[in-house]
Amino acid sequence: MAEQIPFTDADRNDGVEPDMVDQNAAPASEATGSGVQPMNMIQALNSAIDVKMSEDANVLSFGEDAGYFGGVFRVTDKLQQKHGLTRSFDAPISECGIVAAAIGMGAYGLRPVVEIQFADYIYPAYDQIVSEAAKMRYRSGGQFTSPIVVRSPYGGGIFGGQTHSQSPESLFTHIAGLKVVIPSNPYDAKGLLIAAIEDDDPVVFFEPKRLYNGPFDGWHEKPVSPWKAQDLAQVPTGKYVEPIGKARVMREGNDVTILAYGTMVWVALAGAEHAGIDAEVIDLRSLVPLDIETIEASVKKTGRCVIVHEAPKTSGFGGELSALVQERCFYHLEAPIARVTGWDTPYPHAFEWEYFPGPQRVADALKSVMTGGR
């Protein structure tokens, strides 16, 4: 189930600068430092776990290939060497076992951060996440809790085919008791992962793997710029917390609100630029809890709303967002809410760029809502 495929080669073909995927590059593990360094997403996530492991002996990390080797995407690189074998270790290829063990550890009083190698492999752990972790506090009247983080590389755009590209967030946002966090940049990735580890409830933390090495904007035939040119890649080496449940306004605008998360944040920015429309782009950052205030204020200001996500349309999180906006902003809307999403098909390999919502589709949707909809 956990076979490796050469993603980094695919990334390089897409123009990622080789130094951003150099597996020998030391991760940012200056947990006690106070400086700021340019980091890619991988380094920022690594730094978050490192910071927490350094300050709290109850934090430990495990997953398939996540120990000595540091994970197939290197997010847990060198944590074992730094913190020891019993704090960062390899797990059997058993997603159910990984999450169940984490639940048991959480009930004991630890704060495990486990890695599911790809979000596409999370389903064997689904019962443990949904029936156990999510309901632990509630069903035990608060006697037992599940302060665990389930991290998982997520989303498409890396030629991973249907088993390395899925976006299953709505299978988790539907479950009472879970929090669902999806960062779009290194700064938020670190601050949100630290917040997730400190959270007393179970957090499903999806890491858009197309963003690991650069802010991919969906123009797949163009070279991808590396993170280091971005303000949001200037990451403090020490500890900071980004609150779970607060959205980030990535671009202020007056004509239309775009709600997005993960890779689609960058696609949305590119789509707005391409369309030449003054869009307000909101990075939701966490889907549960959701920053409804920021969404509501923005849509009431712009009167229009476009929702963008990679996951298939039907029962996707965009449906929930659309309903919320309609319920709360109906009399402010100038046009029907539009959704730009993955199609209702399994994730295809050869047709990746037909499936993957790109800037052109976003631009088309923006133009459509600006003219009053279909």
Partner: protein, 415 residues
């Protein structure tokens, strides 16, 4: 197709579906059970490798013989007071079950599950281990709470989902949670608690603690992937955990052969994972005690997990929603060759001169009184629907802190 087969000179395949040895109307047939006489199975040193002791997965550890004497190397040599406490806890468990089963029939609750015939398991293990250790039970280990003196009235409050329910009316009756008594919140989804017990034990080992975990799963649920994931993790990380399989022969209406029990023993599942296995007469209080003690010593001395198959018989229906007369011989429980755990411990105590009919009658009366008193107290608070926690609590403890959705929805309900 047949033409093609005959051309190939092959015989047609046939599908085997296992069937139990008896169905309603049949006489119970236990000839397929192989059982060692009491005292016959040797007791290996706890440091024995799983490979060296693999035969234990196919034997049956018994201490009490047909005359009620404790015999052989597994005799835990318990003092009479411990034995009497065990018997009284089993009597109380059965009295509690009878009362609550009746309460269901009287419409006082929606659901109940008895553990008739399996009392020795949870009672012995609950007495032996500390409440600092964590037990990850199924729905048939109420004896654990009762043996540890958990208030019966709290159990009833949970069963009635009344205003004093410790878990606030959120769970199906009997899905208790009692952290202070070493009793993990019962899931109801089968098998999920076993790998969690392994994780809890790993945490204890990681912290250099001295606590161990113990879990239970039924014969039927060993078919769940969670069970096998648990064994892998327990073996790989040498987790200090006791992994019990309560083989009570029936998973609702499916006999243990549907879970693979005809091909091998449930204890033997451990062998492939490199874990030691003990197969034990679950109706023999002393054998359960001794085997658990062996596994406990192994876990506490950092030698890892043990799988124990507790061979028993589910005397009662699966639950109040079940009718076993539709799928198994009516008198199969009565004829069970390993008897009844209460009768057998009573016989033993009597044989060694530490019990008699009068004391037994007194113990029964006291148990019924204790249950009745608790029942009165709980019913005064309310049976199902008569009283319940505040509706406001429905929205609480979904998260550590309610988010806006729950606050808005609570307001919508008007609480």
């Amino acid at each position: 197709m047949n033409d093609k087969l005959s051309q190939k000179n092959s015989r047609p395949l046939s599908l085997r579906v296992p069937e139990p040895s008896g169905r309603p109307g049949d006489a119970p047939d236990f000839t397929h059970l192989s059982m060692d006489p009491a005292g016959a199975v040797e007791r290996p040193d706890v440091a024995t490798t799983p490979y060296e002791m693999r035969d234990h997965a196919f034997r049956l550890i018994r201490v009490l013989d047909d005359e009620g004497q404790a015999v052989g190397p597994w005799n835990p040599r318990l003092d009479p007071e411990t034995l009497r406490r065990g018997l009284k806890a089993m009597i109380l468990t059965r009295a509690f079950d009878d009362r609550m089963h009746r309460a269901h029939r009287q419409g006082k609750t929606s659901f109940y599950m008895k553990c008739t015939g399996e009392e020795a398991i949870a009672v012995a293990q609950g007495m032996l281990l500390s409440r600092e250790d964590m037990g990850f039970p199924t729905y048939r280990q109420q004896g654990l709470l009762i043996a540890r003196g958990y208030p019966l009235v709290e159990m009833m409050n949970q069963i009635y989902s009344n205003a004093a329910d410790p878990i606030k009316g959120r769970q199906l009756p009997i899905m208790y949670s009692a952290k202070d008594y070493g009793f993990f919140t019962i899931s109801g989804n089968l098998g999920t608690q076993v790998p969690q017990a392994v994780g809890w034990a790993m945490a204890s080992a990681y912290k250099g603690d001295d606590k161990i975990a113990i879990s239970w799963i039924g014969d039927g649920a060993t078919a769940e992937g969670d069970f096998h994931n648990a064994l892998t993790f327990a073996s790989v990380y040498r987790a200090p955990v006791i992994l019990n399989i309560v083989n009570n022969q029936w998973a609702i209406s499916s006999f243990q052969g549907i879970a693979g029990g005809l091909e091998t023993t449930f204890a033997s599942k451990a062998i492939g994972y490199g874990l030691p296995a003990l197969r034990v007469d679950g109706n023999d209080f002393l054998a359960v005690w001794a085997a658990t003690q062996w596994a406990e010593e192994r876990a506490r001395s950092n030698q890892g997990a043990t799988v124990i198959e507790l061979f028993t018989y589910r005397g009662a229906p699966h639950s109040t929603s079940d009718d076993p007369s539709r799928y198994r011989p009516g008198d199969e429980h009565e004829k069970w060759p390993l008897g009844d755990p209460l009768d057998r411990l009573r016989q033993h105590l009597t044989v060694i001169g530490e019990w008699d009919d009068e004391r037994h009658a007194t113990a029964l009366r006291e148990a019924v009184e204790q249950v009745r008193a608790a029942g009165k107290e709980s019913e005064a608070i309310g049976t199902l629907g008569q009283s319940r926690p505040s509706v406001k609590t429905m929205f609480e403890e979904v998260y550590a802190t309610e988010d806006w959705r729950l606050i808005e929805q609570r307001r919508e309900v008007g609480v």
